[in-house]
Structure formats: structure tokens, C-alpha cells
Symmetry: D2
């Protein structure tokens, strides 16, 4: 017995950290949200036949394959979900779009602006044929961030003057942590900047509706040489092997920015904020109030309403009410969600858009926009923080 | 393609709030935890054929049935999961155990001590035949509470002098909220006391290892007459219909207690703590330190270590490290879990125990013990807080 | 050059922790608040001539004396400020009132209800002669608690159903901490109960306007034998000397209560809450909202407004606005106050009342009321938590 | 009766917000700290004879004067305390130093680097004659910040990689707030930058021991025209009068920086962070741990110790223990201090240094250093965030 929606057959490429999170989404989204399209976990793709079979058994995919090129051409695949490192995003996405498959691509969209431009152009063309594409800025689907955007759009904070964004992690503070792919420029494109800076830049624009018009930035690689990885390693954990190699990406990036609507902004993305495991902070201060979000308390949103006079203060809204974004599907108020739910919500929005024959958001064009911001940050950082118009 | 564990066929009775949470557990547990037994969502049981079919489609159960008596006898059912109101727990559990099925029973175990005693005796007998039973004190599976227990057991806080437990909700503050089954003594046994007080009493004993030896208590029903429910209502939400009825359970209970190891304890369970959606607080103060948990920040545990001298303070441990209880299965550090994960962990522990031919915990005897505490609280409350030995 | 108010000459008896705090108040109150009466720090009284002279030099008192009986009779003394242990409150206050001196007496008012009754009767008689008296429940003068009372009185939280009060300290967790006077019943009357429990009981009634009508309680002395004190010791610090003695007061008290307006209440006072240095928590939940205070964040008040619907949440009001109680005298918003300011505010309220020929609050009658509550708690605790009407 | 230290006669110039805070310090410092030198509040100086007399009466100064030039020459004045707007700092300080008076000068030291250089040179010369000078970076005297510095110096956090400093206020969010002197460049030198940015830059260098070597910055004036002030206005409050004028200072400044020890830093100072009354945040992340301070919780310090492994977390140290900086003088643990205590501590350190014939810290040279940082920030902001070496 399954839900009655039409099936939408998904092929997913990659099965590490993001693959696990996406699998959880495909497996459960239709169990909570009423959908016209029901995802089928059709094919899992990876280079290592044995490993991909084990992953498919674990995650619940019906089939496996090792050649993504063949899979994206299959008639019985409707959507390609790209969970690989950034260096393969463009090639896979272009092939999938050309084959008429809907595409969900993990962020950052690509490793270069040129790739992202090509992907965006292809997505535009595919769109004319009813093929949908989306980039995986999953944090947009944290209910509290979605509510924050909604409240900004309602005018609750008035004109925004300040944007303050932080994405702080600490998983490579130990200099013995090995040189995994996320620390290699050819695989990952950049370091903290593209991996987590991309999220906070996207979140800032998503929430405020402002567009960043210029940046000044600095980046740093604190640990320049690391042990080569001794194991496959998945997610954000690994152990060191023999020999060392050079870290070719940034460990941290700090950014000043201005927006088209007159706000001053600061951003920071780092993997060296000891003790901050996955701290994503976004605060906006406006003429009528402020809003502040912290992923460490992901089920809450702080709101300051200037109009409340001497009874004002930051109000901790428990974003668990059925009237809050995505919450109609879940538990009673106060029974919070976790990290993985953002992926369920992402799948829901994508499936709903495909069913409605509408473009899902964020589009590849949105991904390209962030790519350009990342490039501007790198350029500024390489030029002693010289201002870069975007 | 599925995981390779032997199948364990589950029949679940009830499909409201708890049914949804348990379904999520059965659907996903083997996708994260390596298990010898893989649950199969075989049969969903409910009185209303149409409603149960819809629920089964939504949650992903293979079959439905309306007669639980027939289902618990079925050869192709291995485990019966009881998610009904408390007035039917005993009857179903006794039948299931008699039929040789493993049983998972929601808390509180029963509506009376007598029922709980009968169930516990039956479970003891069934156990001799290799039949396992467990009561669903799911909050034991919050990783932070499991870590709290572990740290107490390690002696981290020394001799515990104070236990402070709160379970605060506010979903019936509105006097127009209707008279749902949870507000009716014949269905629910008691009100805040059995529904949420049971959890905090169990959590306190689970974490500390102490046993409560006596209580003094008061209970109150603040809103004594409510509209009759106008809809089926599920979970903790409903709307009022025509006419009113009398609330026959407590809205709130406050308790003083002493333990066998010399601690003073206070407990409070209420549905009238306006603004506290699902606040579960447990703090213990010992001779060497303290530990404090708050479900509103469920991925954290506070620890005070007296030995740290003038550098001491409450340390907020982010209970998201792979070495923390249950966390080896989930996301990188800092990517927190939500409410429903407690049910996944519960399913994991139950399946592991069945596979290992061991008794899962908490047992029906543990459920009976809480039932006796609840009875003592009610007796004291009915006798002007007179002390009740337990 | 001094402020222009008429002088009011103060004699203070006792010069330890409370003496230092009161001195700070008398020295500064008129520098911040416009007052008709300007306190003069006239005479400091203590048994040890040398020690009292040193204290007077430190604190800024003009004269010293060793015989309080002579001092309370002096023509050039207008107000007697009693900062001694509880066993001498009654004797000194009665003499001072008889001599026509205004009296400020530290809490608890006395060591027994009988003493408190005699003091209250004397205060009533003195009042007819224009002599004012006040008991030092200084926490009433925390601006956030004063605002909390004001908001309750405005009806902001509606009908209060729950009161939750904690006063947690940990300064005697170490069993080697010596047997100071606060641990001796003949000096202190009781332990945590009278020392800090008195504050939280008073704060609860002050804020809510409710009157406690009955209590059930338990008390405990966790460490029954302690080293005799090796030094004079002041405040809450001391070191041990030779030999040991028996602790004759409670270390902790837990209380259930009901109020005349239908609320259920819980209270706890302890010196064994490891890591909680001076945690005073008061929360009330009402039909329209909630208010919560925590002295560890003394410049804030939490307010939940049910009417805000799905944008509701606990609002952290920074109680530092000039329109908040007592704040017109201090610093710009956000520049918080400290512990000692409560004594400045207490002095201000007392001086203003004397100048206005009005009765200051809390009166000796208020102190007596708390004394009766303390006695009821002790009685209940001595009778296995049997309910005591108050 | 006074304390027995030798008197040190103070003349204070200015009597608004800072004058009130400094008066509180001079009045009380010797009542808490044992000092060889006892301050005498000798002369208060202001241009308006009547207003200064009223202020002196309120604050407790013995005499008043309107001509600061005469006062700094007086034989019976030992120390000149400069609490005027920045445009007069240089002139007064130079005259006072020339007259051989010790000088305490509010921050920022001056309105220009040139003035600050002249003052620093004069201070150096005066020092040879035993004349001491100090600049009033009072937040260094918050016990938690002093402890933070001490812990960094002990190596507790290892090599610091990140510094994050915020000073957020909101007192001019209302566009009708008038054009007080702090919003005029000729009086105040700069806006948020010099007023509060100076504090956070100084605090960052004070705590870390790092020296900022370069900056990129942007500043903004969000409200460019404001009502002229209708009253004298003091502190951070005022009301508008007739007509409007142009705001000639920055409302906000954002800064990227690098330090001589390899850290990346970000700073922000703003008066437009709606709801943030006086939020001063300083966080450092190092190779062994992190420390974080927030003035809104000024009696606490957060410490993360990487060595604690999976029991690590941010520890909230209650900086109220007698062994913590400045705390030996105050109340028992947990009885927190307020904003004004920083000035008492500043007076204590200055008086102790003068008595010991040592140079107090921060010196005028330290003030000059911050002045250069402020100038570099302004220069960068005026050149599209171009990097400025310092």
C-alpha cells in the first residue's frame, strides 16, 4: 500500500553525507506532505559497485549503477539528484537536462562561474521543455528561516540596515585531520567559502530580498599542510594516513558587503571556530525591528518589535506551530524538528513545483548568482580586500 | 532492495499522534542503524475502515484491519505496537502476549495499577517463552537524557541531593478547547499526571537510578467544563462542537518526593503553563556537580563540574557527537535531531533486544512502577497532600 | 557641598555582608534619587570596638559604638538599621521603636512567629506616633521583579494558575565548610528556609498579589556535622577550625502551596544546588500569558503574551529603560544594574515614605506573614508533609 | 571618619553621563578596595555655573568652577578627570599635564591622530616627572573581560585564529531623535566608530594581546538629517526642537582586520541595531579552545575547552568568585555587578598605579594606537574599503 500520487522516479548520484540526507527526504516526504507526485527511489549511482550496493541497501534504493551517463539517459528515470563533489556537478547536470530529466543539484552549483553559467543556460533551455531544475540551498527550508523571510516580506522589520551572517564550524581545527576532498580546490572549488559561505550568503539574500552589490573580503588557510586521508571518509569525519599534502582551499573567509537596498552586511564562514559545530547565525536589524536566527536553536526565531515600546524585547518564537512554514505536516507545537527535515521540505517543494509545472526555487540562476558572489569574494581576498562590484 | 536483516512483521494499533511517530520509526530505523531484524510495516489496525486505510497509505503500512483481536492472532505478525488510548492497553497487550507476540505499549502502561499488575505478570510469563515486551517511555531515547544517565552512572555528579523535574505544556489553556479523550478519565486514566507526569517521573528514575520512596502531591483542574469535541481531532489539536461536558482528569499535578538514596525531589506536570509548549526540564544537583536537561534545547546537556574550581560553570554539551548515545547513526556534530528521533531510537533498542533474545528496557515492570507512583500521587492529592509511601 | 534634603541620621547595627550592602545604599541613594531626606551615616554599632571602627572607616560611618541600647536612645539618631543575625532582631527593633526611631530590619523579621508578632504589634503602635518600620525584602527592589508585579497588576497574564519559585545556592556543598552562624538554629532561626526561602515566598506574594493559604513541605539537612569556624568569617565565606559541631538548621526546603486566588505553587530553597550560585527564579503562568524572572539575568524579564498567536514567544524585556521601576535614576538603556542596587532602591523607598509620612512596604506585618509561612513549612516538614493551613 | 589613605584631590571636568559614572567611582572606590590614596571629590568644572552647582550637589563634589584652565593650575588639585566631548580633550589634557597633574581622559583619547600624538608626547614627558595619565577604556575593567584576557595569556585557547567583535546599540534608530553632540563631527570626532567602535577595538587588542596590522572598512550614515536638539540632553537621551541639521558622523562601521599574530578579525559598531541596547560581544577562537563575552550578560564568560573531548561545550563561568579580577572587593558569588562598577575598578587601578609610582594602563600611547586604528578605518571607508596598513 502506498500513497496515491503518481510516481516520480529518482536517480541519485553520490551517497555520502548528502546522499544519506537526500535519501531520508525521498523516503519520507510523501508520508508527511500530501503530494501529487510520489518519489520512487529508483537508482543509486556511484563509481564503486560494491559500496554503492551497500549504500542502496542501507538507504533503500531499488537499483544501483556505476555509470551515471547511462542512468541519466534511462527512460525510467524522471529526476536526477546530484550529490557529488562540485567538480562533477556541471557535467552531470548538463547531461541530465539534455536528456530531459528534472535536476536537483547540491550547492554550490558548480566550482566556477563559467560552469554555473553553462548550467544555468541549459536549465533555461530545458525549462522551455518543461524540465525543472533546482539547487540545494537546503537551509532555506528551515522553518524558522522561512518564517524570517515571510516576516521581512510582511514589513515586520521595516527597512533593513544591517545584515549579519555567520556560518561557523570547527571540524578541521585539529592539524592532523586529513586532506579530504573538501580541502582540495580541484574537487571542492573552494573551502569554507563555497561549502558553508555559500549557504549563509544565499540565506541572507533569501531572507532579506536584498541583493549584494559589492564585497570586500579576506580569506585564510590556517593549516596549510595536512596528512593524506587514510580511509574513504564520509561526511565531515575521516582519519589520516601516510604522507601529507597541501591544503588548496580557504579555511575561513570574512566579508563586508553592501546591498541594493542600502544595508551594510558582514559575513563569516570558517571551519576554525573551535566549539562552534554548525553555528549558522543570521540577524537583520531594520527601522521597525529585528529578526535573528541561530541554527543551534533551529526551531526558534527571535523577533524584536520596536513598536512594543518599553515592553519590547527579543521574542523567542517557537517555530513549531502548525501555521508556520512546513509545520502543518509535523508534530504538535514544541516538538521540534532536526537537521534532516530541511531536506524533506526541499523534496516537497521540488515535487510540488514539478507537479504544478512551475519553476522550483532556488533555480540554477540563483545558484549562479551565489557563484558570482563567491567569485567576487575570492577576487577581493586575492587583491587585499579591494572592493568588487557584483 | 532492502537491508539484509531478517524481517520482523509489525502490526500497529492506533494511528493518531503516536501512530504517526511510531510509523516514522518503523519506516526508518534500519536505514540508520545496523540491525539483525528489519521491521516490516505489515498491518495497521483501527476501528474505522476508511480512516485506517487512508492512514496506512499515508504512513506506508502494507495492510489494514479493523479487528485487533484477529490481528494479534495472525501467524504473520511478530510484534504488536499499541498506540491506543490507555483504556485499551491492558486488553490488547494481554491478548498479544498470550498469542506469543512481542509487545510495544505506549505509556502510561495502563489506566490503573491493577491493569498494570496483570500486564506485568503476563509479560513475565511470556518472557519465559521468549516473548519480549516494552513500554514506550520514549524520552529515555533523547540522546542528551541517555548521556545524562550515563554521566550520573559514571559518578560525575557524585551523590545526588536534588532532583527537579518539570513537564510543562499549554495546549488546553483556552477554555474553549474541547473535551478530547485525553481529558476524560475513562479513556486516559488521568490528565497531565499520566500523560506527561509519567514521562518526567520515569525520566527522573531512569537518569538518577534512584527510586522514589514517598510523595506528597496536589492536583488541580482549572477548567472544569469544556465544549464537546466537534471533530475527530488528532494529536493535541481539535475544535469544539455543540454542548459541553465535564473534564474528569487533572490539568496539573505538583509533587514533592524523596528517594531511596536520600534525594529531595520536586515534580510538576501541567497543561496550563502558558507559553511552554513542551518544556521538559530535569536537573540533578550532586556532591560533585550538576546536570540539567531541557527538551526545548533537546540536543544539549548542561554539566557543572565542581572540581573545575573558579573556572567552573554550566557547560553546554552539544549532544551530537558520534560517541554520544545513538549519535553514531546520524549526522555530523552540530546537526541536531528532532522529536521523532526518540521513536527511531526506541525501535532500534527494541529490535536489538529481540534479536539478542534479551529483555528490552523499560519493561512492563518499569511501567507498573510508574503506575504505582501515579496512583500514589493521586492518592496524596486526594488526601490533602498526605504523604504516601511507594 | 551636599544635596539639599533634610538630614536623616542613621545608626546601623551589624557590619558584615548586609552591613556592607546597606552602607552602599545609605552612601549613594541621594546621589541618584531626588529625596527630601538625605541619609547621614551617623553611627555604626558592633560588639567589637576595634572591628567596628575599622568597618566604619571602610564604609564611611561618622561614629562607632559598641552598645546598641545606648545608640537607639540617642536624640541625634532618627533611624535604626538592623543588620544583625535574626536572634537579636526583636530585642533591638522593640527598643528602637519604643525610642521613637524609624526601623529598617533585615529579613527574616525574627526567628519565631512570637517575636514577629510582638514586633508587629510594636510597629503598629509606633506607627500611630509617626514612627515608620520596614522589613528588608530587598529583592522586591530588583527592577525586573517590580515590573513583573506591575504587569501582573495590569492584568497582563490574566488569572494566575501556576507559581514556580526557586532560590538555589551552593555555598555549603563542601562538607568542610564550617559551622557559621547561619547554620545554627539559635542564631539564624532556620537555614535555607528563612535565609533564602523567605525571599522567594515574599517575592511570590509580592509579584502575584496572591496569598498562600496552605503548604506541604519537606526539609533536609544533607551534611549534619561540620567543622567549627576557625575565623570570624563574613558574608557567605569562612574557613574551618578545630573540632566539629552539629548543623541545627535545614540545608534545603521544598514546598507545595495553594493560594487564595486558586493557583498551585511550588517553592524550593536550597544551599546544595551545586553550580547555582544565587539563582532566584520566579515564574507565573496565567490565562493570558506568563512572566518569568531569573536573578542570574537580573536586568531582564521574560513575558509571554498569548494574544500574539503564532508570533508569540517569551520576550526578553531588558529592564533598563528609564520608564521601568527605579530606572529613571540610572544609566542609559542596556547598561545594567547589579545586586547592590536593590539596597539603594530599598533606601530610596524607605526615605520617600518617611518624608511623605506614609507607611513603607513591606511592613513588619508583611514580615510576620512570611514568618508564619516559614513556621507552617517547618511544621509540615516535621509532620511528613502534612498540609498546614496558613 | 574616613579611610586612612592619603588624600588625592580630584577635579572633574564635565558632568553628563560620563561625569555621573566617574563620580560614582570616586565616591565609592575606597569603600571597597584598600587603597593608599583616597580620592577627594574636590572640584567639579562646567561652563554653566548654575548647572554645575546642581550637579556637584547631586554627585557630592565639594566645590565647583566654570574655568577649567584655572582649576588645572590649582595647587590643591592632584588629578584632572576629563569627561568632556572629544573636541576639548587635547587642550585640557595638555594643560593639566603641563601643570603636573595626573590625568584621566575619557575615550576616544582625541578627535584626531594629530591631537592624540601631541597628548601622548606630553604624557611621555610628564611621566618623567612622575605625572601619570590614563585613557578611559572602562570596559577593560569588566571582570569577565579581564578574566578573558588572563585566560588568553595563560594559553587556555592556544593560538587565536578568529576575533569577532560587535558593539551594537539602537538609541538613534528613531529618525526624530535629535542632532545631539555625539552626532556632530566637530564635537565627537566620529560617530559609532569613535564612541563605541573604539571600545571594541581596544577590548579586542586588550584581551588577545594581538595588534591589528591592517583594516578594510565601510561606514554608513543611515539618517542624514535630524531635528536640532530642543534641550540640553544628557547621556544618550534627548528630545527634538525646531529645525533640522545634518548628521556629520557615521551611524555604523563594519571592519575586516588582520593581526600581527595571524588572526582574522571582524568588527562592527552601530547605533542602528534595533533592539540591541548595549550589546558588546567579543569572541576568540583558538587552536585549543574559545572564549566569548557578551556585555548583556556581563557577569559571565563562556569558555570552550577542546581538550574536554566529547564532554566539551561552552562553559558559562559566573565571573563573581572572589578569585576573579576585582571580585575580592564585592559580594558573594552569584551576586552580580553592574555597568558602573567598571568605573570603580578603573579608579582603583589608577589610584593604585599613582600610589605605586607606576604607569597606569591603558596609557595615552594606547589611546593613540586606537586613534590610529579609527583613522585607518575612516580612510578605508572613504576609499571603497581599500586595505589600510596600521
Amino acid at each position: 500500500m502506498t500513497t496515491t500520487g503518481r510516481p516520480l522516479r529518482v536517480a541519485m548520484i553520490g551517497y555520502a553525507f548528502m546522499g544519506a540526507a537526500h535519501s531520508q527526504a525521498w523516503r519520507n516526504v510523501h508520508r508527511f506532505f500530501p503530494l501529487e507526485l510520489t518519489p520512487e527511489m529508483a537508482v543509486l549511482v556511484g563509481r564503486n559497485a560494491e559500496a554503492v550496493q551497500q549504500a542502496a541497501a542501507t538507504f533503500g534504493w531499488a537499483e544501483t549503477a556505476t555509470d551515471w551517463r547511462a542512468v541519466v539517459e534511462r527512460e525510467d528515470v524522471d529526476l536526477v539528484d546530484i550529490c557529488t563533489p562540485g567538480d562533477t556537478h556541471a557535467e552531470i547536470a548538463l547531461a541530465a537536462l539534455a536528456a530531459g530529466k528534472h535536476v536537483l543539484c547540491e550547492k554550490p552549483l558548480a566550482n566556477t562561474v563559467a560552469e554555473a553559467e553553462e548550467m544555468t543556460a541549459a536549465a533555461e533551455q530545458a525549462r522551455a521543455r518543461g524540465v525543472r531544475s533546482m539547487v540545494g540551498f537546503s537551509y532555506r527550508r528551515v522553518p524558522a528561516l522561512a518564517l524570517m523571510r515571510q516576516m521581512v516580506a510582511e514589513g515586520v522589520v521595516g527597512d533593513i540596515r544591517h545584515i549579519r551572517g555567520l556560518y561557523l564550524q570547527d571540524w578541521i581545527v585539529d592539524p592532523e585531520f586529513p586532506l579530504v576532498w573538501r580541502l582540495q580546490k580541484d574537487k571542492a572549488g573552494s573551502g569554507a567559502l563555497g561549502d558553508i559561505g555559500a549557504h549563509i550568503l544565499d540565506a541572507a539574500e533569501f531572507v532579506t530580498g536584498h541583493r549584494i552589490t559589492g564585497v570586500a573580503a579576506q580569506t585564510e588557510t590556517f593549516v596549510k599542510e595536512r596528512p593524506l586521508p587514510g580511509d574513504a571518509g564520509t561526511g565531515l569525519a575521516s582519519t589520516g594516513g601516510a604522507g601529507t599534502g597541501t591544503v588548496t582551499v580557504d579555511d575561513a573567509a570574512v566579508v563586508l558587503a553592501r546591498t541594493d537596498a542600502g544595508a551594510l552586511a558582514t559575513f563569516e564562514a570558517t571551519r576554525f571556530a573551535t566549539g562552534r559545530k554548525n553555528r549558522i547565525v543570521l540577524e537583520v536589524n531594520g527601522s521597525k525591528g529585528s529578526l535573528a536566527f541561530n541554527f543551534e536553536d533551529m526551531n526558534s526565531l527571535e523577533h524584536y518589535d520596536l513598536a512594543a515600546g518599553d515592553r519590547a524585547g527579543f521574542t523567542t518564537i517557537s517555530v513549531t506551530e502548525p501555521t508556520h512554514p512546513y509545520l502543518e505536516a509535523w508534530w504538535p507545537a514544541g516538538h521540534g524538528l532536526g537537521y534532516e527535515h530541511t531536506f524533506v521540505h526541499q523534496a516537497r517543494d521540488l515535487l510540488a513545483a514539478i507537479a504544478a509545472e512551475e519553476d522550483p526555487s532556488p533555480s540554477f540562476a540563483d545558484g549562479l548568482r551565489i557563484q558570482r558572489l563567491l567569485a567576487a569574494v575570492e577576487q577581493s581576498a586575492g587583491a587585499q580586500a579591494a572592493w568588487q562590484q557584483v
